[in-house]
Symmetry: C2
Subunit: 348 residues, 2 copies
DNA sequence: TTTAACAATGTAAACGTTTACATTCTGAGA
DNA sequence: TCTCAGAATGTAAACGTTTACATTGTTAAA
């Protein structure tokens, strides 16, 4: 059993309170007393017990982190940012993932509340309908959402304006002469962000007098992207000349699939992603994508949560800037092929 | 302040111990008593305090997880596996990353020891020289390494045989007629795995009577891959016809860079990766790579650590199987070009 | 009806640390 | 030298829960 503050006190010939004052730097100590305590700590290999401290102070100096998955680097990057900012303030992270499942969200929050984390940073499937957030609010535990659209629920979130980003994507593609646009997205029910991106994208296109984009909702994990694209791109004369993907992993997957069915990116079809994950700049073609500042978002969410925990105001919604990063995967609209039905149509 | 067991006891008209027995399912309770306790819990919105429980039982039911970075999906996948196995046993994860820095490793372990995590799962830069592991052993806290080579230190690890994998990569490439091999790796001082892969790769090539491979050690984050490759591939008659990369992110990066300098993969140069991250199967060309079972490794490490915590034997080294997954990024050795210095040589 | 054995429940101390309040020590000023 | 104010340190209870041991209740058998 590791040494406790009692052992240190006994060894140094002082009281528990004196050792506590030394460890925490609270209150003055005579140099000789401090030296004796320090020596006792070293001799005993004492290490403060955060559990005892948590009980007596009612603060654990830990933050709960709940995200859908670590498989998407956009969440990994954010957790890195959270970790940095938390560490800087002496906080630890208690972590869990939910695999986009609402019941898992509730279970995760429940458990973190049992561990008495001081606050939480989390991404839920839908900020509007989140029993997990209801639980947090009922418990009075501060939290900040990450990436979620705060929408009409006015729940505090660090995010970007996904609707505006979707619109800007549409503007960019239309400006390049693309008139037949498509979108490939993950599940809308699992991501209010994907919904917002689609909504902005579609609204802009329709407002500009173009036909609404074809929207493909795919299960990225189950690798049905290629099949879906074969159908979408079957008729080159009516197929989209540009595809907006709801995240970068999907965009990368779409590019691979397009090339496999004989289409060149961006010559035959342009592809535009979302998130700005690092690998996108190392590929060929490099990815044109909407970059959200994931690491900054993680840091910002953490800082404002910690500010709240340290007596500041409640967390609020913060919209950070995104930027459209031009890569090689988007080019001018392809000119119509001079021949009739495309070579693709003839492929078995 | 949330309700405590005292409040529940008062409300139900029973003792603290009775409420504790109800919560934990230890000891028998009359149905009427159980019902009164249950009603009191519901009325008060009581939620057990894991901090109090941890202090009195000396167990936190949490595991510390220390990994270099979440930026590489191989770690994210492993953490997903750890999370699954831990959750199944009612454990939480306390998480931190070290960015491949030994001082950070020590600080991370130190802090997790303060929080009294029951055990740790971690990846360190070098299992042979790890002050963080010295600290854990001195504290008597069980741990399992993940991915690290256990080598002569005999520290418990869940890993694969990286040396054997390196050899098998060499065999595979030599069997395809490649005679001039190269390796692109991340920093060896930050990854004993990368060292082991190089050692196996090199040993096999030399044993087969071929010249030792050219080894490029690059800083993937600082995007110097392309510059390095231009130099390596300058003279097509002497340049490697296949490159082994120490991880998949690097391999993907190398493919992009090769294509950008005008070389086709695998026609002009083959590229083989390591890890088996999911995105590798969605690219064009799909990645030929050594797949380690990251999620399984995470689960296995967790299970054996938990078995130890629950009275079983100490964690041991477990070597899980890897497999060489054939993709499209490796092909037969390119036949020498019929002309003199390559076009590449003339590019400014 | 009484007794005894077992079930059910209560009591109280401990886990490690913090900290309000109390006590002792020290040094400066009268 | 004495006194007083502030410095330094000690005391003890509390934080929430667990659990060994004690006590009370209940039921069946004699």
């Amino acid at each position: 059993m590791p040494s406790t503050i009692k052992d240190v006190a006994a060894r140094a010939g002082v009281s528990l309170a004196t050792v506590s004052r030394y460890i925490n730097g609270t209150g003055k100590l005579r140099p000789a007393t401090a030296e004796r305590v320090n020596a006792a700590i070293a001799e005993l290999g004492f290490r403060p017990n955060a559990v005892g401290r948590s009980l007596s102070t009612s603060h654990t100096k830990s933050l709960g982190v709940v995200i859908p998955s670590l498989s998407n680097p956009v969440f990994s990057d954010a957790v890195s940012g959270i970790n940095e900012a938390a560490r800087a303030e002496g906080y630890r992270l208690m972590f869990t993932s939910t695999e986009y499942n609402r019941a898992e969200e509730v279970e995760a929050v429940s458990s973190l509340l049992e561990y008495r984390v001081d606050g939480l940073i989390l991404t839920v499937a839908d900020a509007e309908e989140a029993p997990a957030l209801d639980l947090l609010e009922a418990a009075g535990v501060p939290y900040t959402l990450l990436y979620n659209q705060s929408g009409r629920s006015a729940r505090p979130a660090v995010t970007i304006d996904n609707v505006a980003a979707g619109r800007e994507v549409a503007q960019h593609l239309l400006a390049l002469g693309h008139q037949r646009l498509g979108m490939v997205s993950g599940s809308f029910s699992a991501s209010d962000r994907a919904m917002a991106r689609r909504d902005g994208f579609t609204a802009e296109i329709v407002a500009r007098g173009f036909p609404a984009p074809r929207v493909l909702e795919v299960d990225f994990v189950n690798s049905e992207v290629e099949e879906a694209l074969v159908l979408l791109m079957r008729d080159r004369d009516t197929a989209p000349t540009a595809l907006f993907c709801s995240n970068d992993l999907l965009a990368i997957s779409v590019i691979g699939a397009l090339e496999r069915i004989g289409l060149n990116v961006p010559e035959d079809v342009s592809v535009l992603g979302f998130d700005g994950i690092a690998i996108g700049t190392h590929l060929h073609p490099t990815l044109t994508t909407v970059v959200q500042p994931s690491r900054d978002m993680g840091q910002t969410a953490t800082r404002q949560l910690l500010a709240c925990l340290q007596g500041g105001s409640d967390p609020d919604t913060m919209i950070l800037p995104y930027r459209l990063q031009i890569g090689e995967s988007v080019g001018p609209a392809a000119k119509p092929s001079p021949t009739g039905p495309s070579e693709l149509n003839q492929t078995k």
